[in-house]
Symmetry: C3
Subunit: 351 residues, 3 copies
């Protein structure tokens, strides 16, 4: 938390916005509504949080223009989530680091490390690696032979970047992520699974973030490609030869099988599975735990295992819940029909 | 295995219980029923394993009072599972270690490492860290700036504890687990996903165990909290701002999305998915591969994707299996009804 | 890519096969059909890829005998996938390494490292370890006390092999995999979960490959066993006391619970979950995202959550899609039947 704090007037000036209330009030940090005390500014995303805000002990709020009658001064903004980011950056400036290669790091003599980059203790940088300006290679990270890390990227502790992988600019790779392990490919030769050498690589474009313990395998012949702006959560599996389009978001524990094409601006929920060679169109949204066995067009919303259009999938889920009732009704119909048939037969016979 | 072994009389004395049979028989280790030889004592959890015990070559058994007529001497006990733990600890005393900081470890000059703790070779302990009594930081583990590790805790090789994370006492963290990576939060600014700084931390209370390659993300503003006695298996994902109640058990590959509240004494099976902002009540049990999209009350038993009360879910699963039959019966009804209608129309027309 | 390249004649001679077309043409690398240029040879797995081959700019092809009329010279073969492996090994000979223990590695004085093996910088080899001929322990890998690594095996960066684990010959373990963490076992003692010591180990037989960030837990009393030739993808969980039969293939993110017996030649798709103590017979195939709660016999093909024989599962999936229609038809029947009953009553009453 910022030790000295800011007045609301200072914050509003920095954020280029206005204050409703006492501009001289000082806050020393940002906190959630329930946890905030008088020294905190708290964030009111929208009107749904108004009751929580009324109950909050926060000394100030950051809120949209349409959230009225709050119990403390308010910094106003039109897009509270974007302004929250700036507010947090005021209180917690991005971590700085001391450039240079630690004496306890291992860096190959022919690796090129930019003088503004840092390679921390117990990190390993292999032969032929190129590390760009202001890159931060944290302790115990590994960068394999011939890999390239673009400027302003961060490899957190215990990241593995295997040989030849190319990481773009402003990429964040979280601890335990593995980029460029062998793809999973074999051919049965009659008596054993023969390994297909995985000679391709991994290309991570700019502005990508990759979660902890996520794995992105190298391609068989060509590259596995993660395009600009993609955000991948923890424990995700991206198999060989996959291509993921720009600005796509992938939640935790999702798995994408080999040679899939995932479009731009796609959202995959958590624990989704995508079969191999599937294409998912731009802008499609896939609900959590869905299984995608076939191509999905652009702009669709699908859910379920197997995945179906979401309205259909929800209707099916409701009808599944009603299956016992439907079965009872079916049985009741059979009984009644039998009675009618018997009656008809009796009357027919009596005729 | 204990090299010299124990007589059954010695074991019974240590376990404060009795022996049925020859107290002078010597056993040198504990083994499973199928694998045991005459030199082993084998464990009979309950009467269901009696046949396996009769076929076993074990030289002795550990069994509950109601398992009778076993083919070798029996150490008796009322709670065989608890006594198995004590038996195993007799044969395999918990691993000891030599206190002290290895010359090949990297420990920041202002980190405080208790003299009874061990920091092994190639481990990294950053600035401001506090490491309690009898803590064991294994090789290649990483403890980030300002983190705290409570007494008697163990960080296995390749554990990552990121900056500011607080780990309680008697906590076991297995290899590859990552505590405190950034939560997964972005806001679309019209042209790109803007990262919401994740300024919170992770708090792990006492007596927690965390499995290999599990990830527990730091909160956005406040902490992600794992309460006393929670047991988490491998490859589990706990997202930012989650709180997990005391003594809850979470099986492998389960994922808990952001801001969930999981109660006390909950059991989540393997590969369960929980949507964000969901509350699960105390003592609830969730079957494997379930998907929880809505709050679940305390004490419930649910299963399925989407999860439903378990009796309902099982009934639905049975009816799904019977769907082909139900569809046939529906069709048969339609045919019969059409025939009845035709008959009625004919008779009506003929009247 | 091979810098100098080979003529097609040279390749055909090395592969013991023939060329359709100009044997003097030179290619410098292997590429996918879409990415290939005139300097590449591209692979045509079978006739389904013929159109892609016609559109390819490749300078040569590797194709089966029955793929005719390709637009460049063709190296012919009966089993293109097997020959692709040999072709790739010609252009990319398996990585070599310099034998010996790096001065920056940590190797216990009583560890036995074969003189033809390599232990790289920042790798850790503990007491009593045995490392066989031509083994490559990459940087930042960890081999725990008493573990054994068989000849020609590879531990990639950041692999963890815990104490006592036995790894066979020609085994490949990818980055972040953890072999031998504690199994997940507790007993409730009335007030807390008591940990059951996990005294067993892990045995990995020859010719196994283990994917990145996969975890294989040690057994409780005996070993967890992965038999010869098993191939395991990334982020897979193999729990304690499991046994996996020879040549079985397990796709990414699958989880196998404690004490399961998986047969030989089994194929488990991605994200499959197997409940504890389940037996799966030899040669059985399990579709992606299936949940196996009960034993499955040998040679079966199952799919779904819960898993059912695949033909039945697909029929059920179709009928689920038709549930809204079935419910409408059921309702229509009820309406018609009520009308018939009313008619019958009226007529009966009118009689």
């Amino acid at each position: 938390m910022g030790s000295a704090g800011f007045t609301l007037g200072q914050l509003a000036a920095a954020l280029k916005t206005t204050v409703d209330g006492d501009v001289t009030r000082v806050v020393t940090g940002v906190a959630a509504l329930e946890a905030a005390g008088p020294e905190h500014i708290a964030f009111v995303a929208d009107g749904r949080y108004r009751l929580a805000a009324l109950a909050s002990r926060a000394g100030a709020f950051l809120a949209a223009d349409d959230v009225q009658d709050l119990p403390a001064p308010v910094i106003r903004c039109r897009e509270p989530r974007l302004m929250l980011i700036e507010l947090l950056n005021l209180f917690h400036p991005p971590a700085s680091f001391v450039p240079g290669v630690s004496a306890a790091a291992r860096v190959a003599s022919d690796a090129r490390v930019h003088p503004t980059a840092a390679v921390d203790a117990l990190a390993m940088v292999e032969a032929g690696v190129v590390i760009g300006a202001r890159v931060h290679v944290h302790p115990l990270a590994y960068v394999g032979p011939g890999a390239e890390i673009g400027e302003d990227s961060v490899l957190h502790p215990h990241v593995v970047v295997r040989d030849g992988v190319r990481v773009g600019r402003r990429v964040i790779v979280h601890s335990g992520a593995v980029l460029g392990a062998d793809g999973f490919g074999y051919t049965w030769d009659g008596s054993a699974h023969r390994k297909i050498p995985q000679m391709g690589t991994v290309i991570i474009e700019d502005d990508v973030e990759i979660g902890a313990n996520t794995t992105i395998d190298r391609g068989t012949l060509g590259p596995t490609v993660v395009r600009r702006g993609v955000k991948i959560d923890n424990l995700v599996m991206v198999a060989h030869n996959v291509e993921i389009g720009e600005d796509t978001v992938i939640a935790a524990q999702t798995g994408i099988s080999g040679s899939c094409r995932i479009g731009r601006g796609v959202v995959l929920g958590g624990q989704v599975g995508v079969s191999d060679h599937v294409t998912i169109g731009d802008g499609t949204q896939v609900g959590g735990q869905s299984a995608i066995f076939e191509d999905v067009g652009p702009g669709e919303r699908v859910w379920g295992s197997p995945a179906r259009p979401i309205i259909q999938a929800k209707r099916i889920a409701v009808l599944e819940t009603r299956l016992p009732e439907l079965a009872r009704r079916l049985h009741a119909l059979e009984v009644k029909l039998r009675r009618l048939e018997d009656d008809a037969r009796r009357k027919g016979g009596g005729a």
